[in-house]
């Protein structure tokens, strides 16, 4: 019998330990959650305060057949706003308006309004790092205008604007002309001494009286303050260097002179190699790219070797130009968006100690060599343009 008691004793100890090591947990049924899909942060009217817009979905409306003759046509989402001195206080403030508790793990985007970004966003990031419900995979965006307005744009193919924006970010890989920055990446850059944070830019365009969200370019931060924007081609120049180009179209002049040729980017990679020449820091950027011939508007046969070589050369020139433009812009803004500083740090850790604090002086004048190795591989389903032989 003592054996039985011993087992019982062990069991009790076991259960006590189990129950005490469970971290923070809570039983919540699905119908007590307000699932947040997007968060927008604006300045509140009251100075010093911020206003948060949370886009919460209504699962019932999400499922019901959309539109039609139903008449009611209620939106499947609800944009709640609340304001407070800090983000956390504003988030808790939501409970006065929503019967369900806001649930953030499925949140996909955080949008900062332009004016808040210009003031500096470090103080608002803390909540997003600290709170266990926020994912590091959230996309960080800057809205030209108000963040709350962006969350009210019309999503035609999706039901919820926030989800639409998140998918826009995923779809931008087809052009590589807009940045996509996850919270993790943003924080890494924010916490680096030299590398400048970047974020996607979202703006509102009007098409047939509908407000449509449009993703374009890159927002560039100096430390934690928004200092400028990169346009489409500058953005791709940046992405070439940081190895984020997934796909896209490069349009070059046809070798014959009349017409254009579209080249599709299939694969790209890059290397940043810092070197020291004559006591000066010198950066060499190696870009390797592979593309396909995607379209031609001229009638000539481009698959001949000379034409093909010309195309390859023009392709690398185009890439070279894009990178050059991005570099110029970055040096103008004096923002190391390419993480050149980190590359130097890695290669010359001893030297870095000296220049770390003076990187701002080095960067605008740093000499950069760009080597592009661009190849054309295939010509699609046909070799010749459609014309009589």
């Amino acid at each position: 019998m003592p054996k039985r008691r011993k087992i019982l004793f062990k069991l009790i100890i076991f259960i006590i330990f189990i129950l005490s090591i469970a971290g923070c947990w809570n039983r919540r049924e699905l119908d007590t959650l307000a699932i947040v899909f997007g968060v927008g942060i604006d300045k509140a009217k009251k100075p010093g305060n911020i206003e948060i817009t949370a886009q919460v979905i209504k699962p019932g409306e999400m499922k019901s057949p959309q539109g039609g003759s139903g008449g009611g046509g209620e939106k499947p989402y609800w944009n709640l706003t609340s304001s407070g001195k800090t983000i956390f206080s504003a988030v808790r403030e939501f409970t006065h308006k929503s019967n369900r508790k806001l649930y953030f793990p499925h949140n996909e985007i955080i949008i900062f309004s332009e004016d808040i970004a210009k003031e500096g966003i470090r103080k608002y990031m803390d909540f997003f790092i600290r709170d266990p419900e926020i994912r590091r995979l959230v996309w960080v965006l800057v809205a030209k205008g108000n963040a709350s307005e962006v969350l009210e744009t019309k999503a035609i193919l999706e039901k919820v604007p926030a989800r639409n924006i998140a998918q826009l970010i995923e779809a931008r890989a087809a052009t590589s002309q807009a940045s996509a920055v996850r919270l993790q990446e943003f924080l890494t850059r924010l916490m680096s001494k030299t590398t400048a944070p970047i974020a996607s830019v979202i703006e509102i365009t009007r098409e047939k009286k509908e407000k449509i969200a449009r993703l374009i370019g890159t927002a560039v931060f100096k430390d934690d303050k928004l200092v400028g924007y990169l346009n489409k081609s500058e953005t791709r120049g940046l992405l070439w260097v940081i190895g984020e180009v997934k796909s896209g179209i490069i349009v070059v002049k046809s070798p014959g002179g009349n017409g254009e040729v579209s080249l599709e980017i299939i694969h790209a990679s890059s290397k940043i190699i810092p070197e020291i020449k004559d006591n000066n820091i010198h950066i060499r950027v190696e870009i390797t790219e592979e593309g396909n011939l995607g379209e031609q508007t001229s009638a000539e046969d481009l698959t001949s070797l000379p034409a093909w070589t010309v195309l390859e050369r023009r392709q690398s020139e185009a890439i070279h130009n894009e990178v050059r433009r991005a570099l110029k812009k970055a040096q103008e803004l004096n923002t190391d968006i390419f993480a050149f500083g980190e590359a130097v740090h890695r290669k010359y850790p001893e030297l870095w100690k000296d220049i770390e604090n003076r990187w701002d002086e080095y960067f605008p004048n740093i000499e950069v060599t760009i080597n592009v190795n661009a190849k054309l591989r295939r010509s699609g389903m046909t070799t010749k343009p459609p014309k009589p032989e």
């Binding site: 019998m1 189990i18 809570n26 049924e29 699905l30 959650l33 699962p59 793990p105």
Partner: protein, 536 residues
């Protein structure tokens, strides 16, 4: 705790008293155990023992040419083959006895020998001199021949009763493979096995269990393959059983299993002779019980539940694929509701967003928490399943209509239960049929897991699963680790766990069971072209 102790002690006391009583009654009877020389006296005693039952026939007659000798045959009507009695016992005695004239020197004792040797034309005849044995045999369908003046009787085997023929087993249907199944008759079952294994080392050891039912139990094993210690242990455990009735092999299973309080069965059973034969050939011991088509085998391994006879009859790739599928199905059947409950009440963040929306939409407006839904649907399913088994066949379709349509469809459309839960429970139900040997354990595990998932989430599921794993690794069946060959790991035996290797690559028997004669076959039996003849 103390009360439990007291109860136990009381029970033990009763137990010892009981056995004393039995011994007493035995000694009382023993005064009349042996037959006397007087047939009328013998018949009187027999009538006393057998009582007034009208299925017991006593036929008195006399035979002999010059000098009539009184004789009697006793048999149980319905359990004997009448033609054998008429043609091979009575007829020779009554008509042909004139051919037999006892010589002067022969007494009746030697003449009973003569009758046994030259007159009874039945295969199995034996001499018996005690009433106990005589009555036992008589009640098992043999015919007793009493002859006046002899203190011995002849027991002539005339067993023959109505029995179900060899049919396809309902519980273990196969697409490819033998379709015969065991029957309720022990002799038929041993025949089915003997026909599969024609090895003189294949041994049937029989014994009687159950003081009142006197059920024949047969221990089968192949000498040379089986571990003799295992046979000894099985024999010891069977001999221990002193109960009044053995009606099904389940009775025996409960008396001999290693872990009576474990939810996991440590004794396997099957209805198919080919399955039992295969297990015997791996070095297991089979226990056949008269009156049931379910044959037990020990030791049992956990993995056995996932091995189907057909795995070995179909080609190895497909067999391995199906084997994997069974593991997946088992996982689904024990985990699906628990995981669903844990995900929807604790870990909403791990559900893909579009799926979460769908699930949340389905949950909108349902009145019960997920755990109540899960337990409710689980219980309803078990009720339907139980009803489906017990119902008379023609009513079966009514149950499926009520079950499927009314409860499944209407409960969802009435908003009582979320549609995903119905899907989860239905999936669970279907998956549980894939591993039938573990389906009862799976049901219990499923409920426990679901409750834990509702209290502690995925953490709770982990606790239960780890507990079960520890239990399984500690469990033994007749000295063999239950979870082998996985714990303890024996890499050689993994040939028949997750994948089933080709039969020609299974050189050895399972290490934990048949290691007495490890090699099953020769090496290099894989089909290959004949060696090329060297050019001359």
């Amino acid at each position: 705790m103390l009360r439990f102790l007291a109860k136990k002690l009381h029970f033990l006391q009763l137990l010892s008293q009981n056995s004393e009583d039995k011994q007493e009654s035995k000694s009382r009877e023993s005064s009349q155990t042996s037959l006397s020389r007087d047939i009328t006296q013998n018949l009187k005693v027999l009538k006393d023992i057998l009582g007034p039952s009208n299925d017991i026939n006593i036929r008195e007659f006399s035979f002999g040419y010059e000098e009539k000798v009184d004789a009697a045959i006793i048999f149980v009507d319905g359990m004997v083959e009448k033609t054998t009695i008429n043609e091979s016992i009575i007829k020779p005695l009554m008509y042909d006895s004139h051919l037999f004239t006892p010589k002067e020197s022969q007494t009746i004792t030697t003449s009973i020998d003569l009758i046994q040797r030259s007159m009874i034309s039945v295969g199995d005849v034996k001499k018996v001199d005690s009433f106990d044995e005589l009555v036992d045999d008589c009640l098992y369908g043999d015919t007793v021949l009493l002859i006046d003046g002899s203190h011995e009787a002849l027991v002539i085997s005339t067993k023959g009763w109505e029995s179900r023929g060899v049919q396809e087993p309902k519980t273990e249907a196969v697409v490819r493979g033998p379709r015969e199944g065991f029957t309720e008759t022990l002799r038929t079952n041993t025949t089915l096995l003997r026909r599969k294994i024609r090895d003189p080392n294949f041994i049937f050891e029989s014994m009687q269990l159950g003081q009142r039912t006197k059920t024949s139990v047969c221990l089968a094993y192949i000498k040379g393959i089986v571990n003799p210690k295992l046979v000894e242990e099985v024999r010891r455990r069977l001999k221990r059983i002193k109960t009044d009735a053995i009606l099904e092999s389940g009775y025996i299973e409960e008396f001999i299993e290693d872990a009576p309080f474990s939810p996991f069965a440590t004794v396997a059973n099957s209805e198919k002779p080919d399955v039992i034969a295969a297990k015997l050939l791996e070095g297991r011991v089979a226990i056949l019980v008269d009156g049931t088509p379910m044959v037990l085998t020990v030791p049992m391994l956990f993995i056995e539940s996932f091995q189907s006879a057909e795995d070995y009859y179909s080609r190895p790739y497909y067999a391995s694929l199906i084997r994997t599928l069974r593991f997946i199905a088992y996982t689904i059947t024990i985990l699906a509701p628990a995981v669903y409950v844990a995900l929807t009440t604790y870990h909403q963040e791990s559900i893909p967003t579009p799926l979460l929306i769908t699930m949340a939409a389905a949950r909108e407006g349902t009145p019960f928490p997920a755990i109540v839904e899960a337990l409710m649907m689980g219980t309803i399913y078990e009720i339907l399943w139980e009803a489906g088994i017990r119902l008379p066949r023609p009513v079966g379709s009514a149950i499926s209509i009520v079950g499927a349509l009314v409860i499944g469809e209407s409960a969802v459309s009435a908003g009582l239960i979320g549609a995903p839960m119905v899907i989860v429970v239905a999936l669970t139900a279907i998956a549980s049929f894939v591993v039938p040997a573990q389906s009862d354990t799976a049901t219990m595990l499923r409920f426990v897991l679901t409750v834990f998932a509702s209290v502690l989430g995925a953490f709770g599921i982990m606790i239960v699963l780890l507990g079960v794993l520890i239990h399984l690794s500690a469990l033994r069946s007749f000295g063999t680790p239950y979870f082998s060959p996985l714990a303890p790991l024996s890499p050689r035996d993994l040939k028949d766990v997750f994948a089933r290797v080709p039969l020609w690559a299974m050189f050895t028997r399972p290490r934990t069971i048949g290691w007495h004669d490890p090699q099953r076959q020769e090496f290099r039996l894989d089909p290959h072209p004949p060696p090329e003849e060297s050019e001359k």
